[in-house]
């Protein structure tokens, strides 16, 4: 009701087009969550469709595989949520995974302490993130170009290290991060299995959720995305936060490299080509606006799972040529972007 009282007062004072209060203005908080809700609806719809059409979707083993196979994508999507919330973008995450996992596998095979290797892998990600952040914040380079440069740099350095697949030794302790723990022993192979990597992803999601919604840093991230100028004028630590955002994204890319390496045990200089696009797609499907300022980290998790489930369904279907996968991804992305567009234009009208 407060808007109804205030509007007539502020209307004639000089704003060029006084917005008329419409019934839609009361829907405003709901409108912002609409894309995320849509993602959840689509996710559930896909599960229902898959169960009816192909069967064996709602069962422990499928759920376990979905989580295990997409834990790295979830981690990447969480990192990108931070960046995209501020209105930036990080294109370097895929290439950072390549160099980080390559360095990790090579050092582990040379007998390095596995804990040191894991820490180093994560720090490599942080270093690339920091470099992007410095370029963006102190030299006014656009996020797109700065992270593109880091992507090229990481990809090129990885190629200098090795251009052939490097295999992690079978007895390497890093592989133990992907040990499968049976939580529920189902009939036959239908067990609920989780791996430490899934737990890592879950912890990342929870921490990111708390940071974004319960801390000052999270508030600042949303404020920068809403309007960087206003955030600056409000005295928020914009410089520090933006720098930190890219370090977070890079660090999580390093962590995703650990998760991926432990699962596959193979690293190559072409690992992770195009993963930054998958992660961006997951974030957008999850309802985060590309312009920044609005979105949810849990939405990004749903977005990542939608993409993962889509792959499962396409594999199950068999009649859809695998070549068409990217067309379907593009189509889903288009639907969600159109939905966002609708939300934004509604918001402007109210």
């Amino acid at each position: 009701m407060s808007t109804l009282i205030e509007r007539p007062l502020s209307g004639p004072s000089g704003s060029p087009a006084p917005a008329r209060p419409t019934p839609l203005s009361r829907l405003k908080p709901k409108l912002e969550t609409l894309p995320t809700l849509a993602a959840v609806v689509i996710f559930i719809g896909m599960i229902v469709y898959g169960e009816i059409a192909y069967g064996r979707i709602v069962q422990f083993s499928t759920v376990s595989n979905l989580l295990i196979n997409n834990s790295y994508l979830i981690i990447l999507a969480v990192g990108l949520t931070f960046v995209i919330l501020t209105g930036g973008v990080d294109l370097s995450v895929g290439a950072v995974i390549a160099i980080s996992s390559l360095v990790g596998v090579m050092l582990a095979n040379q007998g390095w302490n596995p804990i040191a290797v894991v820490v180093l892998m994560i720090l490599i990600g942080s270093a690339f993130g920091l470099a992007s952040g410095i370029l963006i914040q102190f030299f006014n380079v656009q996020p797109f170009i700065a992270t593109l440069a880091m992507m090229f740099l990481a990809r090129g350095l990885a190629a200098m290290l090795s251009t052939t697949p490097e295999r992690l030794a079978d007895d390497s302790p890093i592989r133990s991060l992907s040990t499968e723990w049976k939580v529920i022993d189902g009939p036959k192979i239908n067990d609920l299995v989780i791996t430490p990597t899934v737990l890592i992803a879950a912890v990342v999601v929870i921490v990111a959720f708390v940071v974004l919604h319960r801390t000052r840093l999270g508030r600042t991230v949303y404020a920068i995305g809403g309007s960087e100028q206003s955030a600056l004028l409000m005295g928020l630590p914009v410089v520090r936060t933006k720098l930190l955002i890219y370090v977070i994204s890079g660090t999580l890319a390093g962590l995703a490299a650990v998760v991926y390496t432990s699962k596959l045990g193979i690293a190559q200089n072409i690992t992770g080509v195009g993963w930054e696009l998958d992660a961006i797609a997951a974030v957008i499907i999850g309802g985060t606006l590309l312009t920044g300022g609005a979105g949810f980290v849990l939405g990004s998790v749903v977005g990542a799972l939608v993409l993962g489930l889509m792959n499962v369904l396409i594999t199950r279907d068999g009649s859809i040529p695998p070549e068409a996968t990217t067309i379907i991804t593009g189509g889903i992305l288009l639907v969600f972007v159109l939905l966002q567009r609708l939300v934004v234009s509604r918001k402007r009208k109210t």
Partner: protein, 376 residues
């Protein structure tokens, strides 16, 4: 960041010096410097690097420079399209996929028709360019009429386009044989590679269309301030759509260039990360990603720089998959040189007597030699 210098008519200068100053002040001066640097590196490795030999029987020119010109043609095409798109505050990530689609369409067309004549080649090329134009139009409509962000719109067409190319060829790398089509990439005109000649002609046509008409001004005004442009009576929708169509068409031509040389389309590889090369060429050429002022000459030089860099890496026997690292180096150095912080440092050194020269480049500093939009 890269607005061209307004003429400084304060002190009368001699013609030659004025010319030198105007060249140094060009936004793409660092690209030229980098290009020269690369050539010098090559010359150190092999003093005869720039030599061009003439084949006595066919009259064809051959040599490293000719190779570079040949390799630069596709990059030049997509870079020109990208320049126009970026000038309108947009970006076109789909050019690489459009290249693959164009290559797939032409190869599939010639493969199924089996027509080896000139007519078959023209038809295949026209078909490929037509589809590319349609993809560009999709981008344009989504950006201008629906109002989606260029980044995400072209990301979608990039994903879908790559899939489309794979669907067209059923996931196979398709080859075809058609001599006239092959001639586009491997033939020569007056000793010069056909691709480069076609590329240069297209660049010239685009440049004349853009710079001799008001079109260029309109594109710049949309990029500088869309609202003001609309109030001044410029219809952004038509211009945006045509800019994306032009980018699509040029990407289609680039796809023909790059598949014609081997007469095979590798659906997963043709045009892969070509959009990055194009953006790189544009940024190196001094056009700001923030839109507005653009430089076609700069983008052409950027494309030449990238082609030279690719060749140099191979020439120095560095594995070609390491090329991105050097590209990153070029981007970082050029971005740093263009950044206000570093430029302020240069200016300070050049004019130490200026009173109250600010040590920190405050955004409100009135003493800037270049007209800059203050961006936060």
């Amino acid at each position: 960041m890269s607005a061209p210098t307004p003429p400084r008519a304060s002190i009368p200068r001699s013609g030659a010096r004025q010319f030198a100053v105007s060249v140094v002040r060009q936004p793409y001066i660092w690209a030229v410097v980098a290009l020269l640097l690369l050539i010098v590196i090559n010359l150190i490795k092999d003093p005869g690097y720039l030599g061009i030999s003439v084949n006595a029987t066919t009259g064809n020119l051959s040599g490293n420079v000719i190779d570079i010109l040949r390799a630069s043609a596709p990059i030049m095409m997509i870079a020109i399209g990208m320049t126009l798109v970026i000038a309108t505050r947009g970006i076109d990530l789909s050019v690489g996929s459009v290249m693959a689609v164009s290559g797939a369409v032409s190869m599939e067309f010639m493969n199924s028709s089996g027509d080896g004549s000139v007519g078959g080649a023209i038809l295949a090329a026209a078909f490929a360019i037509g589809i590319s134009a349609v993809l560009g139009a999709v981008n344009g409509v989504l950006v201008s009429i629906v109002g989606l962000q260029p980044f995400i719109t072209t990301l979608i067409t990039m994903l879908a386009g790559r899939g489309l190319a794979k669907v067209i060829t059923s996931g196979q790398n398709t080859s075809a044989s058609n001599e006239p089509f092959r001639w586009i990439a491997n033939g020569t005109v007056f000793g010069f590679p056909v691709v480069f000649v076609i590329g240069a002609v297209i660049v010239a046509i685009v440049a004349v269309l853009i710079r001799r008409t008001a079109l260029g001004l309109m594109i710049e005004s949309i990029g500088i301030n869309p609202k003001a442009a609309r109030m001044a009576g410029i219809r952004p929708i038509g211009i945006l759509i045509s800019v994306y169509i032009v980018s699509g068409i040029l990407a289609g031509i680039a796809g023909i260039f790059s598949t014609a040389s081997v007469m095979t389309v590798e659906v997963a590889k043709t045009g892969l990360s070509a959009e990055m090369d194009a953006i790189l060429a544009v940024v190196i050429g001094g056009t700001s990603l923030a839109g507005g002022k653009f430089s076609l000459t700069g983008s052409v030089i950027g494309a030449l720089l990238i082609a030279t860099l690719d060749k140099t890496i191979v020439f120095l026997a560095i594995p070609s998959s390491a090329t991105p690292a050097f590209k990153a180096l070029v981007i970082v150095v050029i971005c740093l040189l263009q950044s206000r912080r570093v430029r302020a440092l240069f200016n300070q050194r050049r004019a130490p007597r200026t009173p109250s020269a600010p040590t920190a480049p405050a955004p409100t500093a009135p003493r800037t030699t270049r007209k800059e939009t203050v961006s936060a």
